[in-house]
């Protein structure tokens, strides 16, 4: 009896170990993460180029916030014991310039994991230097940079491959090492967790519960340039939009891990974020949120899609 029990436990442990190993460490095609990295790199380059236009206002001591107060202004439970801020104006200027140069190299796939760590640390530095300026796109970008710091993301979609004669439409199959596999999984799970938390936070508010939240967003003329108040005549539409926002976010983790529901969940998410981008000019947020969807797409289908696009480009 005890021997049977032990055998059963051993079998279960072996099955769990195999499932764990398969989930976290099975090799994945690096094509998707390479494309994600390349597109994310250019998006962040553009976003932080816009920020660089105001570097004096945002990060100089003669601007909005002196470096001496940078840490104390952060809420206590967010304060780091080892901040990595630049204190002088010139360090902030050249630090931000370096950030842009590294992002460019990151986008081109020239730098790998170690270079990405440098970008991540610079991202952390500017977040801590002026914390009140940080908003959604910065937060998600910071997380993506953290995970990509452990991934071999520049095997594909790198300009370095041009010397090998590799074309974007016909990149060979290159699989990940165990560290890359684990961190790609962590990035996927982070996206799901972030959606779940943001959805659950909305449930704390009466407006999302009663289905009127979208109506009040429409009323924010500082964010929504177009007057959409005609929508008051379709209260059911407002309620459906409000509730589907919350349901999409809370159940993202279930929808996206189900193979049958995945395309619909990702498709809805794409158009949902596109809608917020069009109405509220949150274009960077749209891109930073939807680019990780590439990690959920079947790599063979993605390759076929890209090959199809490349075939339409007229050759010289």
């Amino acid at each position: 009896m005890t021997a049977c029990l032990l055998t059963a436990v051993e079998r279960k442990a072996r099955d769990f170990s195999r499932a764990w190993d398969n989930f976290w460490f099975a090799p994945v095609d690096l094509y998707n993460v390479g494309l994600f990295r390349a597109l994310l790199g250019f998006v962040l380059l553009s976003m932080y180029w816009s920020r660089f236009a105001n570097v004096e206002l945002f990060y100089f001591n003669t601007g909005l916030l002196h470096a001496d107060f940078a840490i104390s202004i952060i809420p206590e439970y967010f304060q780091s014991s080892w901040p990595v801020i630049f204190k002088s104006d010139s360090a902030n200027y050249y630090g931000h310039l370096s950030y842009l140069i590294l992002l460019f190299l990151f986008a081109l796939g020239v730098i790998g994991r170690w270079g990405t760590w440098a970008i991540f640390l610079l991202s952390l530095s500017f977040m801590q230097r002026n914390f009140p300026l940080v908003y959604g796109a910065d937060l998600f970008a910071h997380f993506w940079l953290f995970y990509l710091s452990f991934v071999r993301h520049n095997e594909h979609w790198s300009v370095l491959n041009l010397r090998r004669g590799w074309k974007p439409s016909s990149l060979p199959q290159l699989n990940s090492d165990i560290v890359s596999s684990a961190f790609i999984r962590l990035l996927q799970i982070q996206l799901c967790l972030s959606y779940a938390y943001t959805g659950l936070e909305k449930f704390k508010g009466t407006q999302w519960w009663e289905g009127s939240a979208v109506w009040y967003v429409v009323g924010m003329q500082e964010l929504v340039a177009v007057d959409l108040s005609f929508i008051r005549h379709f209260p059911a539409v407002i309620a459906i939009m409000s509730m589907t926002t919350v349901l999409f976010e809370v159940y993202f983790i279930f929808g996206v891990w189900n193979k049958k529901l995945r395309p619909y969940w990702l498709g809805f998410g794409f158009f949902f974020h596109l809608g917020t981008a069009v109405l509220m000019t949150l274009w960077y947020f749209f891109l930073v949120m939807t680019l990780p969807y590439l990690l959920f797409v079947n790599s063979q289908k993605l390759r076929l899609f890209i090959s199809g696009l490349a075939a339409r480009v007229p050759s010289k």
Binding site: S81, E201, F203, A213, Y216, D227, P235
Partner: protein, 180 residues
């Protein structure tokens, strides 16, 4: 040189341990009021704050809310004390839409208390109006009527909106403390 099977096994065990720890961290960190957070904060909070992974993921929650900071310049000869200024003024002042959005986020953060306004935004505002003696702040919120009420009155958005002003205080411009 390929790792040995034993080396690979050890690497997987170490990675698995990190994965479990990190998942616990990103699960606990967004909820700083929870019992789990308080119980684990020595390790998990330190990990999160060191790497900048601590965030609450609150976007338009619990309710969509946007507040704008307005101010009047007192004692200046170049501008009337009755003129209302907004911080940030407009997209043109910020240079680009991204800059404007960031400044709006900044203003909402600073407007949380008179102390943060005084310490961290006042020097900038006073430097903008060199001959001002003080700045009077108000936090402007827009009240939007419920859908049923909006259906009854039939007005466009600008007419539906009701501005709600909340005084945030008058703060002196102390010249000796200002940056040149």
């Amino acid at each position: 040189m390929s790792p040995t099977p034993r080396g690979r096994f050890i690497a997987k065990v170490a990675l698995s341990a990190f994965v479990v720890f990190h998942l616990a961290a990103v699960f606990i960190l967004p909820n700083p009021d929870s019992i789990l957070y308080h119980a684990t904060q020595k390790v998990i909070r330190t990990y999160g704050t060191t790497l900048g992974l601590h965030t609450t993921w609150r976007f338009f929650s619990p309710n969509p809310l946007l507040k704008v900071l307005e101010y009047r310049v007192i004692g200046s000869k170049s501008v009337s004390a009755e003129t209302r200024h907004q911080f940030p003024q407009d997209v043109k002042e910020a240079g680009n839409r991204e800059g404007f959005n960031r400044l709006m986020t900044y203003a909402m953060y600073m407007a949380q208390s008179k102390e943060t306004l005084e310490a961290h935004l006042q020097p900038y505002i006073c430097a903008k109006w060199p001959d001002a003696t003080s700045i009077e702040y108000e936090i402007l919120g827009n009240e939007f009527p419920a859908i049923e009420r909006a259906q009854q009155v039939g007005l466009d958005r600008a007419m539906l909106m009701k501005q709600v002003r909340q005084p945030a205080g008058e703060i002196e411009c102390v010249r000796s403390e200002l940056s040149p």
